[in-house]
Symmetry: C2
Subunit: 147 residues, 2 copies
Amino acid sequence: MARIDDEVLGAWRAFLNAHAHATRAINRDLAAAGLPDLSWYDLLWALYRQPDRRLRVNELAREVVLSATAMSRFVDRVEAAGYVRREPDPDDRRALKVALTDAGVDALRAIWPVYERGIERHFAPALGGSAGRVRRILERVSESARG
Amino acid sequence: MARIDDEVLGAWRAFLNAHAHATRAINRDLAAAGLPDLSWYDLLWALYRQPDRRLRVNELAREVVLSATAMSRFVDRVEAAGYVRREPDPDDRRALKVALTDAGVDALRAIWPVYERGIERHFAPALGGSAGRVRRILERVSESARG
DNA sequence: TTTCTGTGGTTGCGTGTGCAACTGCTGTGC
DNA sequence: GCACAGCAGTTGCACACGCAACCACAGAAA
C-alpha cells in the first residue's frame, strides 16, 4: 500500500498526529485557564506584528490560513469580545481594516504565558537541539504546499 | 512578547502553518479527483492495519485523534457510504466493532494514489534527507502532548 | 464617461465539531 | 445477589467551517 519511502510516510503520519495532539493539549490548557482558543492568539498576534497593528480581512485570512468566509465570521466574534475593531480603509472603499484594540493587546498578554508554557511543555522538548533545522524544513513545507 | 527561544517559537509557527497548508493542498487534490477527505483515508487505514480489520469506536477515535462524539457521527457517514459496518462486540455488549468492508478496501486503494502524490509533492521534498530525524522528533511531540 | 472584468467582504445553506446529558451495560465491593 | 461507580456509544444543542451567490466598489479598456 506504500510505495513512497517508509520514513517519509512515517514522518507524515507523525506530523498529523503531532499536530492534533499538540494543538489539543494547548487548547485544553487555555480553556482550563478560562482563556480563548489558540486561534484567537494567532489572529491577535498577526495584527500585533504589523507596524500600525492593522490588517485587511483578506490579509488576515492569509496570515492565519483561513477562508475569507471563516475569517469574516471570526472577526465578528473577536470584535464582539472587543479585541479588534473594523475600520474603513481610506485607500479602498471595498476593504476593511481590522484594528487591534487596547483590550486586544491585553488579551494577547493574558494568553501568552499559558500558550508559551504549552509550547515549552508539549513541543519544545521534542526538538532537542534541532529547532532551527525543524523550522526550516517546516517552512519549506508551507512554501511548497501554498501554491 | 517572546521569552522562549526564538527558533523554537519559529519552529512552532512553521509547524502550524505547514500543517494548515499541507492538509489543505492534499484535500484540494482529493476533492478535485472526486475522492473523500484525507480523514476518511485515515479512518479506513486505521482499520486496514488491524489483523481482523476491526476496531471499537473508541479505539478508532484515539487512533485518528477525534472525540468520541465526532467519531460516532463520522462512522455514521462512512457507514452510509458502505465503507464500514457496525457489528456487535461479542466480548462487551456495550461496545461496537467498526469493520472495514470490501468497498472500504476499494476506497482505500482509490484514494491512496492521490494521497501519495500529495505527500510526495507537498511534504516529502521539504524533508530532504532528514525524514527519519523529523519522524522521530514529531513522534516525540505526539508522545509528550498526548498525556 | 461608460462599460466590463475582477476583487473585498458578507450571508444562506449544508455540514462537521465538542460538551454535557443520557441509555445500556460492566465489574467491583459488600 | 445487589447496589453503584464507571465506561461505550449516541444525541440535543450551540457553534465553527467552506462553497456558492451576492453587493459594493476598483481599475482597465474603449
